[in-house]
């Protein structure tokens, strides 16, 4: 029981401790780091205990099952908890290295830990209302992180983020209530039984779609993704990596589980609609990225575009599609966060996040250039990078289902991603810096110095490289974990 609850309780307790102890900033950082290391250990223990095809379940308070609050870990959620913990570690080290401890807002560490707790909880929660509450915690933690800097543009970003996310939250709550009204269940396992029984109440499908729409809004899918590029870029680079790496992906995980395991008997035309939604998300996201010159905004739009790939695997509605989405999810969390962290280092080294005002980094920071190139290749999907295997799994399944247009579009968007990445490369690294005096002086001002920041990103890049060069163990793991998705249901 503790094995399953520990990854959830550790960040929650750490958040409380870092919030209430009127601590010295360095002590707060130490606590936070200890919390993330413990979380990493707990996530590893959970992963080993669950195994690829296994399942661990805890029903709180000793109530019988559809009534108890239940937490479940399977191969996929255990793997994602581990990825979240790894990302938390990277981000914290980078944050220590680039931001001085004595100028850190007292709320930062508790909010980071709260965000991690909510993310882990969404991965493990097994009832609808619990999911809703953890999504609220995610929303609150992100709002707090957005407002930490206290700048006017951050406040406006937080407002825009709040307005649309709140709409999604309200839709989600209404859907949860209506689903309870139609089926009498909130527990996901019990709902799966009810929704797959013959003669499903037609209302239940409608309410399930409403719930999915709410989660899709939180995932940043077309057309309701406007909150994402409006707000993300105002975060500081490490927080941007944490939020941009995890938030939308958590929502995608929920879509995958809701469609694949719970409401898998959804009519085929809804999957068709989801597929076209995925295509629109892919294309609009990448076109938005092509428009911008600010590094952070380019990468924020690429989040939207990548959500399209993730949704494509879900729309295909087979175990193979689910495995593709799961692999892409893990790859994308790591690569996206790396790119945001590297964008922060580019900003620090060259003095500005706008590509038109920087340059010359290839000569001045060769290691940074190498790290960027590796991660950019992985985002584009150049073989043999992790992005290549993710896209390969998805496009292969799309072609296997005769979805040539979907697969073709997914490949074409890869080219446009390459355009964005080469824009960053040419402008930021290749062309001479317009004002070379700004190139030399600036270095990270934090405690560990630039070495720690580089070490953190290098560590995370090595993970991405390992995924690319040796993907089969993870693919096997995820294929076993998602083997039961759409078992006997969904479009053929």
């Amino acid at each position: 029981m503790m094995l399953l609850l520990a990854p959830l309780l550790i960040p929650l307790v750490t958040a409380l401790l870092t919030a209430v102890l009127p601590a010295h900033p360095r002590l707060r950082r130490g606590l936070s780091l200890a919390g993330v290391l413990l979380l990493l250990g707990a996530a590893l223990a959970l992963l080993v205990a669950v195994g690829p095809a296994g399942r661990l379940s805890v029903a709180l308070g000793d109530w019988p099952l559809p009534f108890a609050i239940q937490f479940v870990a399977d191969g996929l959620s255990a793997a994602l908890v581990l990825v979240a913990a790894l990302l938390g570690l990277t981000v914290l080290l980078y944050q220590f290295a680039t931001e001085p401890a004595n100028r850190e807002a007292p709320g930062l560490q508790p909010l980071v830990q709260g965000l991690l707790a909510a993310v882990v909880a969404v991965f493990l929660a097994a009832d609808l209302f619990n999911l809703y509450v953890w999504f609220e915690l995610l929303l609150m933690a992100t709002l707090g992180l957005l407002l930490l800097g206290g700048r006017p543009w951050q406040a406006e970003a937080a407002l825009k983020y709040f307005a649309l996310s709140m709409l999604g939250t309200l839709l989600m709550l209404a859907a949860v209530g209506l689903i309870y009204g139609a089926s009498g269940q909130l527990n996901l396992g019990a709902l799966a039984v009810v929704s797959q029984a013959p003669g499903v109440a037609p209302g239940l499908t409608l309410f399930a779609v409403m719930l999915l729409l709410a989660v899709l809004l939180k995932a940043g899918a077309f057309p309701l993704f406007a909150w994402l590029p409006a707000s993300y870029h105002t975060l500081s680079p490490p927080l941007l990596a944490l939020v941009g790496g995890l938030l939308t992906k958590v929502a995608i995980y929920v879509v995958l589980r809701l469609t694949g395991q719970v409401f898998s008997a959804t009519p085929a035309f809804l999957y068709e609609a989801l597929g076209w939604l995925a295509m629109l998300t892919l294309v609009t996201g990448v076109l938005g990225a092509a428009y911008h010159w600010d590094l952070r905004r380019i990468l924020a739009f690429h989040i939207v575009s990548q959500i399209g790939y993730l949704l494509l695997g879900i729309a295909l509605a087979t175990p193979a599609g689910a495995a593709g989405t799961a692999f892409f999810l893990i790859h994308n969390i790591l690569v996206k966060a790396n790119l945001f962290l590297l964008a922060g280092l580019i900003w620090l080294s060259a003095g500005h996040p706008d590509l038109r005002r920087i340059g010359g980094l290839y000569l001045a920071r060769p290691w940074l250039a190498l790290l960027f190139l590796l991660n950019a290749f992985s985002l584009v999907g150049v073989p043999p990078s992790s992005g290549f295997w993710g896209k390969f799994l998805l496009v292969q399944e799309a072609f296997a289902q005769q979805r040539f247009l979907w697969g073709g579009l997914a490949l074409g968007v890869g080219l446009l991603t390459l355009y964005s990445m080469s824009k960053i490369w040419l402008e930021g690294f290749w062309k001479p810096h317009p004002d070379p005096t700004r190139l030399a002086g600036s270095q990270p001002q934090g405690d560990g110095g630039p070495r720690l920041a580089y070490a953190a990103v290098t560590f995370s890049t090595l993970l991405v490289l390992a995924l690319g060069l040796y993907p089969q163990p993870l693919i096997d793991w995820l294929q076993q974990a998602t083997a039961g998705y759409w078992a006997g249901f969904g479009p053929a």
Binding site: E136, E156, M166, A174
Partner: protein, 128 residues
């Protein structure tokens, strides 16, 4: 009971959407709050209200009397009210801060986080 609640919900949703479509900052926020109340009522209605039998197991029996009220939607609504109230307070303070700083409450003119493009080669998405 159901009919009254249904009419109330539809009126509240309409009011909330009308306020949300406004371009005034505070109308938008209040619109979200009104919509939140409508959603709370929906959850409440989904739990089939109307029963006056309390959800308590009578002494000597091991299950509820037939037609007892369902306590779960009320627990859900309570939780949602608390969360919604906290978020509304937060949003109102945020809105007050923003409007004080900006000197107006027009949402369209709040463009600090997304400044319009000044690049002559590119189309501006929104006019200033």
């Amino acid at each position: 009971m159901t009919l009254i609640l249904m009419i109330t919900i539809s009126l509240t949703v309409s009011a909330g959407v009308l306020l949300l479509l406004s371009r005034d900052l505070f109308r938008t926020l209040v619109g979200l709050a009104v919509l939140g109340s409508a959603v709370n009522l929906t959850v409440f209605l989904a739990g089939r209200p109307g029963s006056l039998t309390p959800p308590l197991i009578p002494p000597g029996l091991d299950r509820l009397a037939a037609g007892a009220a369902d306590p779960l939607p009320q627990a859900l609504v309570l939780t949602a009210i608390v969360i919604g109230f906290a978020l509304l307070c937060f949003a109102l303070v945020l809105g007050a801060w923003i409007s004080q700083r900006a000197g107006h409450t027009e949402v369209d003119r709040l463009r600090l986080s997304e400044p319009p493009a000044k690049d002559p080669l590119k189309p501006t998405i929104l006019k200033e």
